[in-house]
Each structure stands twice: as C-alpha cells, then as structure tokens.
Symmetry: C2
C-alpha cells in the first residue's frame, strides 16, 4: 500500500517532469536544478552567477524553501527575476510545483533558469523536475563523510560544486578524498572546488554553464 502510493506519486511527478522538459527544450531554456544541505551556499553562488552572466544571458530563478521570501529577494536584488515557492514543511520541490510556477515566466525570454531546491541532502535527490542538469553543492564545513553517507544525492548528480574552499585552512577537509569518493560512487560526476565568497574557482563554474547552454540550444 505504501509502496503503491509512492510509485503513484513518482509516476505523477515524472509525467509533470516530462511536460516541463519538453517546454524547456521547445523554448531553448537551459534548466539547472541546484541541490545541497541547508547553508551550503546555493543562494550566494546564484548571486555571483547572476552578477557574472546576467549581461550575457537572460537568467531567472525559482527558489524553493519551507518558508520566507528571503532567497528570492536576494536574487531580485541582483536584478534577475525570481519566484519563490514555499513548501510549508515539504522537504523538496516536485515537478508539479515547478509546472504550476512556469506561467510566471515568459520562457521564450529566459535563456537560463536555475531552480534552487529546498536545502536538503536527502529528499530532492529522488524528484525529477524536468531539468537538463542536476548539480549538487557540498560545502567544506560539512566534512568529508557526506558523499558516502548520502549516496542517493551524489549518485544522481553530474557535477558537485565543493563550495567554501576559503575555509580549507581552518578545517580538516581532504579535497582529494572527496574527489576519490565521488568518482567511486559516480564515475560520470566531477568535483569542482570553488568559493562563492572569494570567487576562487567560479570561472570554471561559469564555463560549465556556458557549455551546457551551448549544448541546450542545439537540442
């Protein structure tokens, strides 16, 4: 009974995800689903991404949180359109929430749509939103054990941004160990160390986005 319901929920989610994906492809909108623990730095990373790329691409953001408009307000302050979804206790976004939000955008006028998922290293991993790419953010203060301890997340993401590397001198985080753990768990994935705060390593993230955009518009 519980299994049947869960299957049903995921079937409905996957239908909505396919609807979203077709729309994104038709409008040539690159969509990136950004996931992490609370406080890993997703919003700061998006602020810096908007700051860098907004002149070149028309960027929009969907923000997912249990409560508050704080993250959407931070993105709006950078000049990009942002719509906040509040899940009121729900631990992840799903494809139907995204579908129900898309009327707020004119997708023909959006080149890149970032979806910042609810801060959670567990629930968002299981839900396809119709995005082209799933990207996880792991932060140095969270420690080296997160990749083996949260396999569902790291098995399903193609890029892991290791944020807050400016804190490496004060902590015991081993970047090579993280790279090894990730590559064992998910050989298709890669680890990109950076700091949204000091901007170290951000250039590689921006290049990755530009490459993904070029591939997207050729679909």
């Amino acid at each position: 009974m519980k299994i049947a319901l869960r299957t049903d929920v995921l079937t409905n989610n996957n239908k909505a995800a396919e609807f979203n994906r077709e729309l994104f492809t038709d409008t040539k909108t690159l969509v990136i689903n950004l996931m992490s623990s609370p406080g890993a730095g997703k919003t700061t990373l998006l602020e810096e991404t908007v700051r860098e790329l907004y002149g070149k691409y028309r960027i929009a953001v969907i923000e997912g949180d249990l409560a508050t408009e704080k993250d959407a307000d931070r993105i709006r302050a950078m000049g990009a359109k942002a719509v906040q979804i509040n899940t009121h206790g729900g631990c992840h976004l799903d494809a139907r929430m995204i579908a129900a939000t898309l009327h707020e955008f004119d997708l023909d006028e959006v080149d890149i749509l970032f979806i910042e998922n609810v801060g959670n290293l567990v629930c968002p991993a299981g839900y396809d939103l119709g995005q082209h790419h799933k990207v996880a953010v792991l932060s140095v203060p969270e420690g080296n054990d997160k990749i083996p301890k949260y396999p569902q997340m790291f098995m399903r993401t193609e890029l892991v941004l290791l944020n807050k590397i400016d804190l490496l001198p004060y902590l015991d985080f081993n970047v090579e160990e993280a790279r090894r753990d990730l590559s064992e768990m998910n050989p298709q994935s890669s680890l990109l160390p950076l700091s949204a705060r000091t901007r170290e390593g951000l250039h590689e993230w921006f290049s990755w986005i530009e490459g993904a955009y070029e591939r997207c518009i050729r679909l």
Copy 2:
C-alpha cells in the same frame, strides 16, 4: 487520501513514541534526540560528550543515517555502545525504528541514550521518537537565515546548540541576531554557542545534560 495516510502514519508513530517514552521513564534512561543539517557537527559533539561524561554516566547512542556505519564506528571508538540504523533513503528516524532497536540495549544499564537523527533540517522535526528532549544543532557556516527558513525545526526544539563558533572570525554570522530570531520563533528555546572542535562552551552543554538527567530520574 494523502492527508488520511499522513495522519495514519503519524498516529502509528505516536503510539510507538509513547511506548518508547514509557520504557525510557521506567528504566530511568534520559533520551535526547539530536537533529541538524548534514555536517553541522552532531557526531563530533557526541564524541566529546562521551569523552567527558562516560565515566560518570553509562552512555549509549543510536545513530541514524541513510547509509554507512561511519558514525556508530566513531562513537564505538570513544568506548560507548552505539547501534547504527540505516534508513536507505529515508530522511528521518521514526519511533518504530527506535522501538525495533531497543532490544540491543539493556536500558536498565543505560543512564543516557542519545539518538543522532538523520542529517536533515526538515523531516526529523515532525517525528516524536519518545525522547525526553529535542535538541537542534545549527552551525555557524550555515548562516543566519536558517532559523526563519526552517521554522518547523526550531519551533519544536527547546535547546539550539550553535556549533563551530571557532569559525566566527572568518564568516558573517551574527550570534545576537540568531538569539533574537530563535526567541521570537520559540520563546521557550535557548541558544547555546559552542565549538565541539575547540571545546569552547561545551561545559554549559554538559551541565544542561546533567540537569536533564537529574530531572529525568525524579520522574
């Protein structure tokens, strides 16, 4: 239908939680449910707690994680008994998981049982495990916005340990703002700044545990 099922799940959970709570009270075992984001430092805090209090109290730990025995191994290395629950994708412990684990302990021989929940700032908040106290750990690198953004967690905990204060010089975290946000959201709760790494502030945490234990054995 979904609401009915959710109600049913919580009713079953609450029955198991009452079963656990009666058992804990009968055996005079103080039980603390420790919750936080991934990587906030729950296990390091428990290592230091076992190191300090193990001579005085018989301490045991239940560890909750999606995967691996890593956390239980760390506690065992400190000399205390630890049982690992793997949720295989589940984002929180529930009271039935705890009930199903209790046969592994002789509770008459345990003074304090810590339950380290799955690293997640959302799901664990809604599940009573039968504990006497719910304690949240928030870490400085997660940032000031977590209390308003995760209200379900902070409304339901009586003590919030603000961990990693050794990183305050390198980050913009405002301790007084966190104290104010917490007190507005939950006037019964208090914020205790500490660092499990440098041991600053740990003495107050140990005193809080000792006070809770004294109250527990008088129940």
